[in-house]
Symmetry: C2
Subunit: 217 residues, 2 copies
Amino acid sequence: MLSLTEENYLKAIYHLSDGGSKAVLTNELAEAMSTKAASVTDMIKKLSAKEVITYEKYYGVNITAQGKSEALMVIRKHRLWETFLVDKLGFAWDEVHEVAEQLEHINSPRLIEKLDEFLGYPKVDPHGDPIPDHKGKIKIIPQVPVDQLAIGYQGKIAAVKDSDSNLLKYLDKIGARPGVKIKVLGKEEYDDSMEILIDDHRVFISKAVSQNILVVG
Amino acid sequence: MLSLTEENYLKAIYHLSDGGSKAVLTNELAEAMSTKAASVTDMIKKLSAKEVITYEKYYGVNITAQGKSEALMVIRKHRLWETFLVDKLGFAWDEVHEVAEQLEHINSPRLIEKLDEFLGYPKVDPHGDPIPDHKGKIKIIPQVPVDQLAIGYQGKIAAVKDSDSNLLKYLDKIGARPGVKIKVLGKEEYDDSMEILIDDHRVFISKAVSQNILVVG
DNA sequence: GTATATTTTTAGATTAGTCTAAAAAATAAT
DNA sequence: ATTATTTTTTAGACTAATCTAAAAATATAC
Ligand SMILES: [Mn+2]
Ligand SMILES: [Mn+2]
Ligand SMILES: [Mn+2]
Ligand SMILES: [Mn+2]
């Protein structure tokens, strides 16, 4: 059984390791958790005692199969609750992340199964992120940020980064939502800004924005 | 700002004091919180520092106006979530209390207002308990437990105690739900059991049961 | 009205999560 | 191959919430 804080650490480790494919360093975890390296060292000792990660001194942490499964359950809850807030309660997509950060820690398997059913077993959350199923299986779609695309690329927006409310408000304003058509028209070498077509609408976006829009790779 | 534990203590104080109308003793609070008197004394000091209760050594605690308002907000959330679980997710009424104990601590005023709207501004929860409105106003209906009724009493079930799952399953089986007609036919002096009519259905109930069915006083 | 029993409070410890400051290990630079 | 820098770990301390055991206050009994 993991505490709320342990769940948050584990989720961060899952994300920073790209789903378990690489080791996570103490400092990047400290950065992600807005805490100090010393606190991270303490916590990773506890998490490795609980066998959700493995830990080699000075070389970072790796998530175990069990840890991955627990992290995916928290992510499942987070994304189901975000979907509920948008689809059923009429929240805007920029208002849900903070509340979901709380709701993801509610412990009731029955609640999550019922919620999933109530929502019609959604495959993705309001930001385009895939929702793990009740077995913890997640369909990882390889996603590429728009700033890495070549001129002339045509495709569809797969997802957007969901943690910054102001970014989401802006993306909504320019119509950059999952599923919408996108085409790269030009790149400005000077400041890495881009000219793109969103649903046949021409817009100029800064690098800070292009990094946060993801298309299918 | 109150911690989760502080919220739980305050809620217990509100209930034990009958909504603020009498003082609560250390030991009854310890009993209600399944903890030790020493822990209660510590917590009481913190709560009175936060001015949600007043505390006189050896004479128990009283809830302040601010404390009452905060307790009512937690109760509002608890009962709205219970209503959501039953009405929208299809939970049985004996399955919701434990989950609501967790959900009641989610902090998001917007979430609660949206949830209230989504549920159609319900007046009572699945167990017949009144739901405080967004101002914290609660319609206190004076309720009397069935074991205190005289033979011949006729009326309607107002509410049932909601914390024991087995009791609720049994009440459901005999049809004892809020709003259902009830009539007292007889009382057995020997064991305080009663013969009652529930929706024109004759049943015998023990004292343990009759204490947990409430009618309008 | 003194003795006994009950209730409540204090004292001292424990655990989870966090912090700052200092030591140790690993990496980079001369 | 030393020295310097960066990263990570340890050491020691703090807060919230809990506990047991002992002391103090209140209530009850004779
Ligand atoms: Mn989110
Ligand atoms: Mn999301
Ligand atoms: Mn309840
Ligand atoms: Mn209830």
